[in-house]
Symmetry: C2
Subunit: 321 residues, 2 copies
């Protein structure tokens, strides 16, 4: 989701970002989970047909303004696109690492009302809990399918909150995924902060008010997608996203990101129409993908994922694996 | 809650904040809900004993950095304190207006795991949904008690996201609550932003990266508590909160807030110990309230709300109503 900067990101900048970041909690535990998941899902496929694994990133990252964090800058993202796309990737036979912002939309839950726990159930006196009839079908589907995917070992959920957690986790997932070669995919739908406050220059305590206006100076987050493409997982099929609120600059920015980061496809979307249509930008073409408006439940992620799976197949074939 | 500024907030500053804020959506609908709730809960009490109503505010407010908002500054708050306190106020016979940040912790849910919808239920093939045995008691309690309080008309839930929404809603609730006189209470547990970007100076579109570091200049949010006390609801018993990460300045800041805003009590809490103890600061005393450590489920909000209910009773008596 990164904006494309004017300045080429050097690997030194990236190293310096990681060096100054607060250490990731339970790093070893996360590495073990990711490696076990990849091992299990790559060895379970038949000979001659490589198992496909996609890492879907979802939701926005936060930028702490204080080390003992009370205030932070956040990026708007419900995580609905990543959650819905995960369902369609699972349906298409992929195993999915779902790297999501804590608290955002979960797979199989995107059609449920807000706060489904309190809004979908009834409990009359002394009887068992009942699903409210108008949500019966969706609730049962959500709980059942989520359980099947997680317990079946085809869906690994990992959550993040800050930009520091997100980028450290992305790096360790990417280096593990690279062992899968071209049959792995990155679907980078998360809304990643463009600016941050370097950890060592940050206030330790809550910033005090009472002394007039506050000026915050933010540094640019190094553009990690090109590091992912060049260093971490060069063999992996890689799709990035570009969100703008101004349709006039959207396509131009998507084309520039494609070239600069050397990703395989960029999904361009405008904030106000993002549930209706997206434009998939490739090197020599631009494909408009629209949701099927004749069906109430047809989401734009269904045709989008179908298109990406096709392109991924062509990429695998072309790579000769 | 608000830090106490050096500069006395003038009513003109507050008026100017409201004048420049984006208009509250469904303002008339919210006013009707609040007035109906107050009317119903004040007229249902017996003669000679005024019904008690408390407005509990909960969760953090956001400060948009763009009008078509992609990025915003947020305040950390899970909303657990406001949610748990709401349960104890209901238990003590109060009716509660729960003004909460969208997505934060709900009453009766504070002991449940994250994402209870997906983590508390099982669905085996072709059978009905089952509550996972280890959560059976909590899940049933949460759904049943929430439903009883909402359908029984004793709990009104209203959600906000931005600082603009929060303060506009607080003002209209306060002016309605003032009709109840001393039997109404404000329990201002929400984490309100101290700084904001005035709407008219805000970028319309997403801020573009790529041109070096970003400098943001934030104005101070006018201190609304003193307006609430002096103008909106002068008769209401009012409790504000003070959160700091630095214990050295906490009590001094709480004392200053008590004096400056003329609230009845300030609950002082430090980020790292806030689940274990709080200090209630009054004009002539400071009372340390600790949770009962011998019971696993005993939250600090239980003795805190009990103390506040006592003080509120004394206030009502003293006011001669």
């Amino acid at each position: 989701m990164d904006d494309d900067g004017q300045i080429e990101t050097s690997l030194a900048e990236i190293q310096s970002f990681f060096d100054s970041a607060p250490p990731l909690k339970d790093r070893e535990g996360i590495i073990t989970k990711v490696q076990d998941f990849i091992h299990k899902n790559s060895s379970s496929s038949g000979i001659g047909k490589a198992a496909r694994v996609v890492c879907v990133t979802s939701g926005g990252t936060t930028v702490p303004l204080e080390q003992r964090c009370v205030r932070y800058i956040d990026n708007f993202s419900s995580g609905r696109r990543g959650a819905a796309s995960t369902e369609y990737f699972l349906e298409a036979g992929y195993s999915v690492i779902f790297l999501y912002r804590s608290g955002t939309c979960q797979p199989y839950c995107s059609t449920l009302p807000d706060d489904p726990f309190l809004n979908c159930f009834d409990a009359s006196d002394d009887t068992a809990i009942q699903v409210h009839p108008s949500f019966a079908k969706e609730v049962k589907r959500a709980i059942k399918e989520n359980r099947a995917a997680v317990l079946g070992g085809r869906l690994l959920k990992l959550s993040f909150t800050t930009i520091f957690e997100y980028l450290q986790m992305l790096q360790l997932i990417a280096t593990s995924m690279n062992t899968l070669g071209p049959s792995a995919m990155f679907y980078l739908a998360a809304a990643v902060s463009d600016f941050y406050v370097p950890w060592e220059t940050m206030n330790v305590h809550k910033i005090q008010s009472g002394s007039g206006p506050l000026d915050i100076s933010l540094a640019q987050v190094p553009k990690m997608i090109s590091a992912l493409r060049r260093e971490w997982a060069p063999l992996t099929f890689c799709i990035s996203f570009k969100l703008e609120t101004d349709s006039k600059i959207l396509l131009e920015k998507a084309r520039r990101a494609l070239k600069k980061n050397k990703v395989h496809l960029v999904v361009a979307n405008e904030l106000s129409t993002r549930k209706e249509e997206v434009i998939v930008v490739a090197e020599n073409e631009e494909i408009v993908v629209r949701r099927n408006q004749s069906k109430a439940e047809a989401e734009v992620e269904r045709p989008l994922v179908a298109l990406l799976v096709d392109r991924h197949s062509a990429y695998i074939k072309h790579s000769g694996s």
